[in-house]
Amino acid sequence: MSDAILLEKELKTLLIHHLKLEDIKEEDILSEAPLFGDGLGLDSIDALELGLLLQTQYGIQIQENSDKNDQYFSSVKALAEFVKNNRQK
């Protein structure tokens, strides 16, 4: 399995456990599906918790509330790409 796929799996498991998503299993989350809105249905509190999680887990500080964040958080795939390029640990 490639590193990218492994990181995506890791993020899916983190999302499920950390955000306590009931009924949802790792294989239910499609890497390309939107995390917010119609896809996984995450909300602003999840976004905040996800931001903090990236900080503790990967040492990533999200610097500004910009449209770019929407892009990083758009799907597990995008998030994995963002983590890969910005992780400090």
Binding site: K20, L21, E22, D23, I24, K25, D28, F36, G37, D38, G41, L42, D43, S44, I45, A47, L48, E49, G51, L52, Q55, Q61, I62, Q63, E64, N65, N69
Partner: protein, 587 residues
């Protein structure tokens, strides 16, 4: 010095006064005057009346708000911008002033982003403080949203009373915020109060802690307007040194801040969050700052506000100049209180079915009404599942009875598919934070002797959330002599791992543990299970099986039977022998 809202434009401030800033730009009073002049000219070509106003950016919002007021109109703040809600709000309005790109055909949509050309100067007037300036929406306890009016006079009185109480402490601070100005608390505390008292505000809404940290450093002082949802989550992520050096004051409102979070901020940053208690209807009513002292739980009334208890209900009545009313009236609140003195009280929760989820107010009857409109739902009961730990979030649970169409959809598409369908429908009306996360589909809702659904029994249906080792509860009913549960074993329970790789099943010991847990719901803590008798495991209980677990009290109080079965098989049965804890010593 505080300039009243009706005179903020006619009474000139120094044109070089800083009004607002963001990461890239600063906006002076002269910039604001020019923008409001241009936008007012644009708006004066449209009809006067109610105009919906929405912008994420506080500076753009302020331009829109002042222009609406200057042209003699009233600003309407929608409760959220979910499609159906915005549609309904727009229906009764002249049009919308916004920075959103909306696809609206039948009403004028004026964009705050449009670069406006200057023209003949617009003459700013002093406004009438008694005219309705603002319409706010709030979820009413009956299930229908309420419209709340405010005059400039209402807003002025509240701003003045906060200025008298805290103006000195905030002087020369810049205001930053994690809450939106689209609701009354943010509108007053992050936008109008700073603007009227000449304090600059950060025009964006801070979301992630590093955005706040970026503003710190330097020599400027800040005040933070926030709420429990952010404060309880971001404290650990803030660096003590920078925060101590630059942050002077923290406001919290939208719900009570838990004591541990308040003490954490005191310990780490030397700042005790200043909490405000209020509502859209009443505006701010009281404040508190929690310390380790027991009496710091009490709220202190603002000087201009009066309260009295109701004679025949636990409701609270309030009178205040911040409330819109024709006469000198008392306004009823749905919060229950214990009044300690004329100016101090303790909050005891709501007396109706309105809940706060991460600072957002939700009427459970309204949520139920919207679900009942769905073609698949026969009966429904919504409840708030309190966070068991302050770090966890509050959640909404739904117990629903499906009709035949719903059941066949469930069988065909599974739980996830059905839940997604309901969530999508709800998202036309409710913000994402208020969409229920936990769903239980039942054969019937639990009912007590008088035909009401007992909250405790519904709550018990959700006791398995976050426990990966418990079966899912599909039904729970207390019977005349015990308890009956309908359960489902999902295929991911932890103990399946390693328990017969090719033939996964629920071990007998786990079935006994489930039966014991169910029994514990019926008996007091002093009674202990001494032994099992005549236990039999008759068939393998496999993953993805729906089954019943029944506990029955046998003749004497110290013997209970259990049985696990479904329509086709019996899985296990046996008898519990009980004894009192103090008796066990002699046994």
């Amino acid at each position: 010095m505080l300039i009243p809202l009706n005179r903020t434009l006619s009474e000139l401030r120094g044109t070089k006064t800083l009004v607002a800033f963001n990461g890239r730009q600063e906006f002076l009073y002269s910039d604001l005057l020019e923008k409001v002049g241009c936008f007012s000219r644009l708006l004066s070509k449209e009809s006067i009346g109610e105009w919906v106003l929405y912008s994420k950016d506080s500076y753009l919002f302020l331009i829109g708000l002042l222009s609406i007021w200057q042209t003699g109109s009233t600003a309407v703040l929608p409760i959220n911008i979910q499609s159906e809600n915005l549609k309904a709000t727009l229906k009764s309005s002249r049009g919308i002033v916004t920075d959103l790109e909306l696809d609206i055909k039948d009403k004028p949509c004026l964009s705050l982003l449009e670069s406006l050309s200057s023209g003949p100067s617009f003459v700013f007037k002093e406004l009438d403080p008694d005219k309705t300036a603002l319409l706010l929406h709030s979820s009413g306890s009956t299930g229908k949203p309420k419209v709340i009016k405010k005059t400039l006079g209402n807003l002025n009185s509240e701003l003045l009373s906060w200025e008298e109480l805290l103006g000195g402490k905030l002087r020369k601070t810049r205001c930053v915020s994690t809450v939106s100005h689209q609701h009354i608390y943010g509108l007053l505390h992050r936008l109008l109060w700073p603007f009227c008292s000449g304090r600059a505000f950060f025009s964006e809404t801070i979301f992630f802690p590093p955005e706040l940290v970026n503003l710190m450093g330097g020599t400027k002082s800040y005040c933070l307007v926030s709420g429990p949802a952010h404060l309880k989550r971001m404290g650990e992520a803030l660096p003590p040194k920078e925060i101590k050096n630059n942050l002077r004051f923290i406001f919290s409102s939208g719900g009570p801040l838990d004591k541990n979070t308040a003490l954490f901020y005191q310990r780490r940053f030397g700042l005790t969050p200043f909490e405000i208690y209020g509502s859209t209807e009443t505006g701010g009513m009281a404040w508190r700052q929690r310390t380790s002292k027991a009496d710091s739980e009490a709220w202190n009334l603002l000087e201009q506000v009066q309260i009295k208890p109701s004679n025949d209900s636990p409701k609270l009545w309030v009178s205040s100049p911040f409330i819109y009313q024709q006469h000198d009236e008392w306004w009823p609140l749905d919060d229950r209180v214990e009044i300690l003195s004329e100016s101090r009280f303790i909050l005891k929760g709501r007396s109706d079915r309105t809940v706060k989820i991460e600072e957002k107010r939700l009427s459970l009857p309204e949520l139920e009404d919207k679900l009942l409109e769905h073609q698949f739902i026969k009966e429904v009961f919504a409840l708030s599942l309190d966070a068991s730990h302050p770090a966890e979030r509050d959640q909404i649970g739904i117990a629903a009875v499906l009709n035949a169409g719903g059941i066949s959809f469930l069988n065909a598409q599974g739980r996830l598919g059905l839940i997604a369908l309901f969530k999508k429908e709800l998202s036309k009306y409710f913000e994402a934070v208020l969409i229920p996360r936990y769903w239980r589909f039942l054969d019937c809702l639990p009912v007590d002797e008088v035909g009401k659904t007992p909250l405790g029994q519904v709550k018990a249906l959700f006791s398995d959330r976050s426990q990966k080792n418990a079966p899912q509860i599909l039904m729970r009913r207390e019977t005349a002599d015990g308890l009956l549960k309908k359960l489902n074993v999902s295929h991911e329970l932890r103990f399946f791992k390693g328990h017969f790789e090719h033939l996964p099943c629920v071990p007998g010991s786990v079935q006994l543990a489930w039966a014991s847990e169910a029994l514990r719901e019926l008996i007091s803590d002093e009674i202990r299970i001494k032994a099992f008798e005549s236990v039999k495991f008759l068939n393998l209980l496999r993953p993805k099986t729906t089954f019943f677990l029944e506990i029955k009290n046998l003749e004497t109080n110290l013997r209970f039977s259990f049985r696990i079965w479904n329509e086709t098989l019996e899985f296990s049965k046996g008898i519990f022998l009980l004894g009192k804890v103090n008796q066990t010593k002699t046994l």
